[in-house]
């Protein structure tokens, strides 16, 4: 058993190459271990003190989020709230203030829960993930990263060091809406993120939708753009509800039946499209949408 607090990225990558597993906030790992779902890795390297993983910085292509950026920062960072609003919506719904203080975007992405809140927003915003090992560095599309519940294509010596978001088109907006039974310490029953760009006449010029907790991984709705293009937002939302429900591959578990999930994910997708379109038109809707409007409200 060993536990090392990495002071440099090189130190962390060397530890991973030697078989250690990374820990940031530990909000998934430690809870899972205490519930008996997993055993504690015999060697851990803490990556939560690395300044280079804690940056939110503009790049020539958009915005780079260090993997160690916490949910508390994601939900309040002015640039994320203004331009990548669906991600702020999602971060604000994660756990409770204590979870958000130590839980990180890199941890959420690499834990690869199909019910993760930041995954669907990252997918509709076109995010890619930078993985780094002691030997190499590579950029991975989210659709090539997640392969199943808790499963990714990352090698054990690779650390997620950053999430890169492309620049946003104008005028565009995004939103993440989650069905929840309670307001805190909740896991998505289902969730949906939408990103839309508007034409001058208020119709949708381009859009994307992704779904949480209805498949073994976060699910992109392949037909979303074709279904929504040149439609007014309300008509696009109605159409996307049916397409999203059709695309879903839900299971039944203690939180909901497959039938309920299939229906409600369409409802959430429609609400996400409407909220994203309202934001794209310049309307301010507070973060998260679930609190600003109420998940049960008719948008």
């Amino acid at each position: 058993m060993s536990f090392t607090i990495a002071q440099t990225l090189d130190e962390a990558l060397t530890a991973l190459a030697a078989g250690a597993r990374p820990i940031a906030g530990g909000t998934d790992l430690v809870v899972g271990v205490r519930q008996g779902k997993a055993s504690l890795p015999s060697s851990l390297v803490a990556v939560d003190r690395l300044d280079e993983l804690a940056l939110i910085e503009p790049t020539d292509r958009g915005l780079r989020l260090g993997a160690g950026v916490t949910h508390a920062r994601l939900m309040t960072d002015p640039k994320i709230v203004a331009e990548y609003t669906a991600l702020a919506d999602a971060a604000a719904l994660v756990g409770s203030p204590s979870t958000r203080n130590v839980g990180t975007i890199g941890g959420n992405v690499m834990n690869a829960s199909p019910a993760m809140d930041t995954g669907a927003p990252l997918m509709v915003l076109g995010a890619v993930v930078k993985l780094q090992s002691a030997q190499r560095s590579r950029v991975v599309e989210l659709s090539d990263l997640w392969t199943g519940p808790g499963e990714t294509t990352a090698a054990t010596d690779e650390l997620c060091v950053a999430v890169d978001l492309p620049s946003r088109p104008t005028p565009s907006g995004s939103a993440y809406v989650r069905l929840e039974y309670r307001r805190a310490m909740e896991i998505a029953i289902v969730g949906a993120a939408a990103s839309v760009t508007l034409n001058g006449d208020g119709t949708i010029s381009a859009g994307s939708v992704a779904l949480s907790a209805v498949a073994p991984t976060i699910l992109a709705v392949d037909d979303a753009n074709a279904v929504m293009a040149d439609q007014q937002p309300d008509a696009a939302a109605t159409a996307i509800a049916a397409v999203a429900s059709d695309a879903a591959l839900p299971i039944s578990d203690l939180r909901a039946s497959d039938t309920y999930r299939r229906h409600t994910v369409g409802v959430m997708a429609a609400r996400a499209v409407k909220a994203a379109a309202r934001r794209a038109s310049g309307e301010e809707i507070g973060v998260p949408v679930n609190r600003a409007i109420g998940v049960g409200a008719v948008l």
């Binding site: 058993m1 909000t27 204590s98 979870t99 130590v102 310490m185």
Partner: protein, 154 residues
């Protein structure tokens, strides 16, 4: 196999030897004798174990003790001035925000972190600030009132 480490709790450096898998909560209670912090669900749901880590609330049940090395931990014992009660302790008592008292230390830690960064929170902000803390006795209204009164009394 145990790890020697130093935990800084309420401004005091404690040298301890703990297994890597031990949670911070257990070490605070059983090694350091600081039993103000409570174990409720042991699952990050209830917030009875809330402590401050560098001033921010964290569920100590689901945080490894070794993760806290080099950080400043504050427990409810560290909130009390030498003479009397912390303002949140006093208003919780006066408003009837304490019944069995089991959730109270965690409520105080979350509320104090909230008031530290927002000295005049709205009712909604107080609810969000305490959203990681469960109480099974009071129905919450008196706890919320106590936090609001603490803020208004500055």
């Amino acid at each position: 196999m145990t790890e020697p480490l130093t935990l800084t709790v309420n401004g005091v450096d404690y040298p301890v030897n703990v297994d890597m898998g031990r949670n911070l909560l257990g070490v605070l209670r059983n090694e350091l004798g600081l039993t103000g912090t409570k174990e409720g669900c042991d699952d990050s749901e209830c917030g009875a174990c809330m402590v401050l880590l560098d001033g921010q609330p964290v569920n100590s049940c689901s945080y490894l003790a070794v993760q806290a090395e080099g950080r400043s931990v504050t427990t409810v014992e560290g909130m009390m001035p030498a003479d009397g009660l912390h303002p949140l302790q006093r208003t919780l008592l006066e408003e009837g925000g304490v019944q069995c008292g089991f959730c109270t230390p965690g409520m105080i830690m979350s509320a104090s972190a909230l008031l530290e960064r927002n000295s005049n929170p709205s009712d909604e902000e107080i609810r969000i600030g305490l959203s990681g803390n469960l109480c099974r006795c009071t129905g919450y209204a008196r706890i919320l009132a106590a936090v609001a009164r603490t803020a208004s009394e500055g």
